[in-house]
């Protein structure tokens, strides 16, 4: 077993273990942490596959931003676990049967007989000066520029949707105009007035 293979099995083990732990964890915050571990392991496997840009993006976007917001939401919500579990048992048998059937079918179709190394050759290793990010950039802005732009439109919709659904422009709302507050000068707020203090005689 080469060093690469050892690494692969280590990362895969952590990937699977973290994914399982995430599913079975009772605490939502712990589940998120296990998911983060799973992301890290997946990113490491990608690095072994020479897809380092994807790996870093996975960490940057999912671990660095999406999961932070996830934790944020979990902290804000008081998730009632008992109500979540209430209907769990009644659906469990049916769910297990369906899951077992799907898993069996997928194992048949996606197993080694169809996608094994004899059927699909492993991709060749690149030379040491191969730059994943350069190749990706060239592809992304030429061949795949159309899907790339469409993805941008998709994100635009997400922004519009979020603002449309959340922003309430009711007239009776009290807001602070921070721009005004920040640009205030001392002389706008404080007037120094010189008053002649009356002396003892009252003049």
């Amino acid at each position: 077993m080469s060093f690469d293979q050892i690494l692969f099995y280590v990362f895969s083990f952590w990937f699977i273990a973290a994914s399982l732990a995430m599913i079975f964890s009772r605490n939502a915050a712990k589940a998120v942490l296990f998911l983060i571990l799973a992301f890290f392991s997946a990113a490491s496997i990608w690095i072994l596959l020479e897809a380092e840009f994807l790996a870093i993006t996975l960490i940057l976007v999912y671990v660095g931003a999406v999961m932070v917001l996830f934790l944020f939401v979990i902290k804000m919500l008081n998730i009632d676990k008992s109500s979540l579990r209430a209907k769990f048992a009644s659906y469990l048998p049916l769910g297990l049967i369906v899951a077992a059937i799907i898993a069996a079918e997928m194992a048949l179709v996606l197993g080694n007989n169809q996608f094994g190394l004899e059927m699909m050759a492993a991709p060749a290793r690149h030379a040491a000066d191969y730059s994943n990010i350069t190749v990706l950039a060239l592809q992304l802005y030429t061949d795949y520029v159309y899907p790339f732009e469409l993805a941008a439109v998709l994100l635009l919709i997400a922004i519009i949707a979020a603002i449309t659904l959340v922003h309430r422009n009711e007239g009776n709302r009290k807001t602070q105009n921070i721009a005004e507050q920040v640009s205030v000068k001392a002389k706008d707020r404080v007037y120094l007035v010189s008053i002649t203090t009356p002396n003892k005689e009252g003049k």
Binding site: D143, Y144, Y146, L150, V153, L154, A158, A161, L165
Partner: protein, 485 residues
């Protein structure tokens, strides 16, 4: 190592309608921010203008030779252009109806029109999609805008529930579709529709490859059936139709269906045409289930939007039946049917919106009692629409059903044809029920005639009359539909 770029700016003219629409969306979105309340109508007029211009640009491209551009992910052919023109016309009509509804129920916001245009952009991408990636992205652009459009009436519990239900089920459907796409990509090694077609057609296909293609195919069919709302993937349709604001229901039930049919054509006929025997069987089952369930459950409805939802399900059954025949004339009949369905559905929702008043949704069948007495013209139009939907000659709905049945019989599926005819007759009952309550029952109270703006009255009238007029010359439209394949 690095491929030579396939990107060529001179070929972008073929995508001009899409490029124009996206630019128009951005302009309208920004402009809307600066419009004060008395000028908010400008957004509406600009939307109509953008849709009109896009339609004209798409119309000019009809007859162009088939071109594939943008890294083989965008196709321009007659089907794309004709569908785009139809979508623009339908969307413009829908916007005329929507404005009336939005003003009545104080939902008039600039974002509504921006989101509608964005969803149309998504549909155009789907119609012109020539790679799995663009088809999926188009679908997501469409779906995401629709979820938001439903939830735009966020003060109504029903609308929020409908949006959530649609979102969750739509996400599952997208997931299934993506799963199928990844199978097909995995085995064929290409995202490109024509390369997939070449792969699926090749004579040296090993049995394991056929297995995996079929595995992916099932997921694709499920994803498409979800989006079209065919039984047994129809659960979201009635709830979404009922819960959404009527103008959004109208939009969901019309234009996106064209795009979904286009996606079906691109994926299954253009891409996996070689697998036609496999997906035909799936479609036959889906179609029969849809027609049976759509016809029977609709009998029990008291809400007209819910009733139209079940009616949509059975119409979709007919469309799928056309594709199930597996012959070009059958595909033509299916495309003809979906366009006719859009025409009828638009008119039906148009009349419902026409009867809306401030704080009153005319969405119960009992609301239509005695309609002929106080607004005879609306009642007459509703009569035309219902008769057409029931498939009674000489209205266009009859010919749509007839063409499908002809193809079904000529491809030898006699049993299927008999089942379909029986349930078409059963479904006529609930359409006639509405007519009965309009003409032969008295209203609860003396309702005053409803004043609606002239533009919506005019457009609804033209729309309903078209159902009759087109019904007199069905062959021309059928030839048009056939010429697309």
């Amino acid at each position: 190592m690095i491929n030579t770029p396939l990107f060529d700016t001179t070929s972008l003219m073929a995508a001009l309608p899409e490029i124009f629409l996206l630019s128009a969306i951005v302009v309208v979105l920004l402009l809307d921010l600066f419009l004060t309340k008395p000028f908010k109508q400008v957004t509406y007029y600009l939307t109509q203008l953008s849709l009109l211009t896009t339609g004209v640009l798409a119309f000019n491209l009809i007859g162009e030779p088939e071109t594939i551009i943008l890294g083989n992910s965008f196709i321009l052919d007659d089907m794309a252009s004709v569908f785009k023109v139809f979508m623009m016309v339908a969307a413009m009509v829908a916007m005329v109806y929507s404005r009336h509804y939005l003003l009545q129920h104080s939902l008039f916001r600039g974002e509504y029109f921006v989101l509608v245009m964005l969803s149309i952009l998504g549909m155009m991408v789907m119609v012109s999609g020539h790679s799995l990636l663009t088809l999926y992205l188009g679908l997501e652009i469409l779906s995401l805008s629709l979820y938001t459009l439903i939830a735009i009436a966020r003060n109504r519990a029903g609308a929020v529930e409908a949006a959530l239900k649609y979102f969750v089920l739509g996400a599952i459907a997208s997931g299934l579709l993506l799963y199928g796409m990844s199978m097909i990509y995995g085995i064929s090694g290409s995202l490109n529709i024509s390369e997939i077609a070449v792969f699926a057609n090749s004579a040296t296909l090993a049995s394991r490859e056929v297995l995996i293609i079929n595995f992916g195919l099932v997921f694709l069919v499920i994803g498409i059936a979800f989006k079209l709302g065919a039984v047994p993937f129809h659960m979201w349709v009635p709830d979404v139709y009922q819960g959404a604001p009527t103008s959004v229901t109208m939009f969901i039930s019309t234009v996106p269906k064209i795009a979904a049919v286009a996606m079906l054509v691109r994926l299954l006929i253009d891409g996996l045409g070689a697998m036609q025997p496999y997906w035909s069987d799936l479609f036959t089952v889906l179609a029969i289930l849809s027609i049976v369930l759509g016809s029977i459950v609709a009998l029990l409805q008291t809400n007209i939007k819910r009733l139209l939802a079940y009616s949509t399900i059975s119409h979709i059954g007919f469309v799928l039946l056309g594709f199930a025949t597996g012959v070009i004339t059958g595909y033509g009949a299916a495309v003809f049917y979906i366009l006719v369905y859009v025409l009828m559905s638009l008119a039906a929702f148009g009349v419902i919106i026409l009867l809306n008043k401030k704080g009153f949704e005319a969405d119960l069948i009992s609301d239509y009692k005695g309609l002929s007495a106080h607004s005879p013209w609306s009642a007459l139009m509703m009569l035309i629409i219902m008769l057409s939907m029931a498939g009674i000659p000489p209205f266009i709905g009859f010919y749509a059903k007839l063409f499908i049945l002809q193809q079904v019989i000529s491809s030898g599926m006699i049993t299927v044809a008999i089942i379909v005819v029986v349930f078409a007759v059963i479904s006529a009952y609930y359409y006639l029920q509405i007519i009965k309550s309009m003409y032969f029952e008295d209203g609860d109270e003396a309702q005053e005639s409803i004043p609606a703006p002239i533009d919506i009255q005019l457009v609804v009238s033209i729309n309903a009359v078209l159902i009759l007029v087109v019904g007199l010359f069905p062959d021309f439209w059928m030839q048009l539909a056939l010429s697309l394949f």
